[in-house]
């Protein structure tokens, strides 16, 4: 196992300089999620209008992989339709299982592909994506 396979430069950059961190002022869908086995936590907020993710913000505490993955997720889904965001989420989960995934949709997220060779860390990388899925599901239930 090579550490550099896991900790790619782009991941460390997101870890050190997280994008879309903070809170949405005004109306937003919101969720708090914890990884009970390790204590990582995230608060995710989505502002969806006309079926499009207009704004997305997160706050959290956790390891480099969970925080970088959260930051990269926000960049990936911002400006996308909810449907597209869910498609990206599906592809990301394939990436985590080491399955073939749509590179075009994943784009920068491909950098997280090394995580699947560190099974103990997959739950770190998927925390933010679980938050995304749950937020969308909760909003659909509410409608």
């Amino acid at each position: 196992m090579q550490l550099d396979e896991l900790y790619r430069e782009v991941i460390m950059d997101h870890y050190m300089h997280p994008r879309n961190q903070g809170q949405i002022e005004g109306d937003a869908l919101s969720i708090d999620l914890k990884n009970p086995t390790c204590g990582d936590e995230i608060t995710l907020q989505l502002h969806v209008e006309d079926g499009v993710v207009q704004d997305v913000r997160f706050k959290g505490a956790g390891c480099s992989i969970s925080m970088a993955s959260a930051s990269m997720m926000t960049e990936a889904v911002r400006g996308k339709s909810v449907e597209e965001a869910m498609k990206i989420s599906d592809e990301f989960r394939k990436l985590m299982k080491g399955e073939e995934a749509n590179e075009e949709l994943l784009d920068d997220l491909e950098a997280l592909s090394g995580v699947c060779r560190f099974p103990a860390r997959i739950k770190c990388a998927t925390l933010a994506w679980n938050a995304l899925d749950k937020t969308v599901k909760n909003s659909e239930k509410g409608e």
Binding site: M1, Q2, L3, L6, Y7, E9, M12, Y15, M16, T37, C38, G39, D40, E41, A61, G62, C63, S64, I65, F118, A120, R121, C124
Partner: protein
Amino acid sequence: MTTENAFIADFPILDQQVNGHRLVYLDNAATSQKPLVVIEAMDKYYKTINANVHRGVHTLGSLATDAYENARLAVSTFIGAHDEREIIFTRGTTESLNMVAHGYARQHVHAGDEIIITLMEHHSNLIPWQQVANATGATLTYLPLLDDGTISLEDVREMVTDRTKIIAMTQCSNVLGTINPIKEVAKIAHEHGAILVVDGAQSVPHMKVDVQELDCDFLAFSGHKMMGPTGIGVLYGKMEVLEKMEPVHYGGEMIETVELFQSTWKDIPYRFEGGTPIIAGAVGLHAAISYIESIGMNVIEEHDHRLTAYALEKLSAIEGLTIYGPQHDRGALVTFNVEGVHPHDVATVLDTEGIAIRAGHHCAQPLMRYLDVAATARASFYLFNTLQDIDILVDALQKTKEYFGYATR
């Protein structure tokens, strides 16, 4: 540094490479490795005398019953119980503590009573008491921690009142390594008519524990942390408190007579061991106890102390490393954080070097909150670890710092 350690050869699992490096196993507080004698004892049990206990008239049934009851006797002698009937086999510490909470506390704790625990408890010695308090209307209070991660007997004296029914406390913290003054707390508890429940998961494997000397009312511990198999644990209870405890597992093996609407229970301890017991597990635990006794608990204790003192000294010298818990008189573990590197990342880097440590909240979320950390890293030792293992840990932690210092620049 010497690598000579006569015990290493007893542990087949240690003879392997992990990620291209010799396995350095420093996660003994989570579960210890098993010597060949334990593995072989269970193997032999299954190959030669496997049968259900306490019921068969046939020969194997008697042999299996003897093996199971001899294990009970061995545990009883090992912890200095007055009578082997005071030993109940369970699945582990968690089940033992839940048995006390459900079978004893729910019967004898009432609204307005008090239960006292400490802020350093593992969830298994915390949630059962929360639940008892919620169900009965009793008050749950927490003994505070001093700055060095110990408790003060003055605080105990101040907090315990005649309304206190139960004090539950770990003998050795799985995070801080703190050794609590059980004997003194038992005395205070008894002066007020309370009972003392001791979580011995981290202490029984590493130090001489004598229940009559401590005078605790209950002691819970697990086989797998003392080189025995998983799935077997012990609840010791003084006969006088066991007589006041109700069974929590109803079913086979635990009854005297069963009528259509009422039943009566077997004698202690069998009434607490409903269902087919963990026979092979008890045999494995017996082998682990024999192994410990063949070495001598004092030898293990001295070895653990030497390693822990060495680890504290070496780790303290690493810049940016925070160590939690007292400086002296502690269990065989060191919990720490590396500045700027999350414990998960620390554990992953160490794993690539063949080093197994624990990272996370160690099932002690209230303590983590008190320490104001989300998670920590923990290295924990046992008799097969060496000073060289600690040197390898220290080198790998330096590498971790360099790697993350570089990667995050």
